[in-house]
């Protein structure tokens, strides 16, 4: 029992150390690879005609992702339909 505790504490300390080191290595607000960001910021407004860059990414550049999100919501509604109507018929 005691051995287990020591192992767990050691593991926790190790993970906290790794997490803190990860934060220390990369200061926030200074990303290393900025090619994608610079492209969207420079050309997004002109190419998609929308002032909101987030919307231009969500609905234009990554439209496939939004289609998946909408489908997930549709599936959720269908699932709720199935569960609750099935219960009623019992």
């Amino acid at each position: 029992m005691k051995e287990k505790n020591i192992k767990g504490v050691t593991l926790c300390v190790l993970f906290v150390f790794l997490l803190v080191m990860g934060f220390c290595l990369r200061p926030a607000g200074e990303p290393v690879n900025t090619e994608m960001d610079d492209y969207f910021i420079t050309y997004g407004q002109v190419q998609t005609g929308s002032n909101n860059i987030v919307t231009s990414v969500v609905f234009d550049y990554r439209g496939m992702d939004t289609l998946g999100e909408a489908s997930v919501l549709f599936a959720a509604a269908s699932g709720v339909f199935l569960v609750f109507r099935g219960e009623r018929n019992e």
Binding site: T48, T55, F59, G63, L67, A76, A77, F84
Partner: protein, 157 residues
Amino acid sequence: MNNEYRASVVVRTVAYILAAPLIVFGLYVILHGHLTPGGGFAGGAIMATFIALFLVSFGRKGAGSLHRNLFSVLESLGLTVFVVLAFLGISNTFFYNFMVNSGHLFGRVISFGVNPGYLDTGGVIPLMNIAVGLEVFSAISLIVLEMFTYSREDKND
């Protein structure tokens, strides 16, 4: 037994007051999705909040006045319009924005930098926002309505 669930007069009054602002704010967020923060998902959720508030305030009687099939049809319609708009640009790629910078409907050409925020820009993005907003509004309303209706039925039996 006529123990019909009914919220207090405070809740009902607040629901009356908030109904119009909720719907208008939701529509605003959807229609200005390509200009200001927000979009179809956020606006649809705001409008679905109105349905949840309606059910909280008016209970079973209120739920009976809502047409479940209408929400179902609107949900399917929103998703179908979204997919059709995505397929309309298939000559280039899936999800190609074929209406942007065309000079016609939703095709006003804008330049890089600050502008007053014209509504007729963005190509298919505003239309997709409307479609997704319709879909999210109907789906969340349908989930809330369905859970409300059938979870309460068991207790009364």
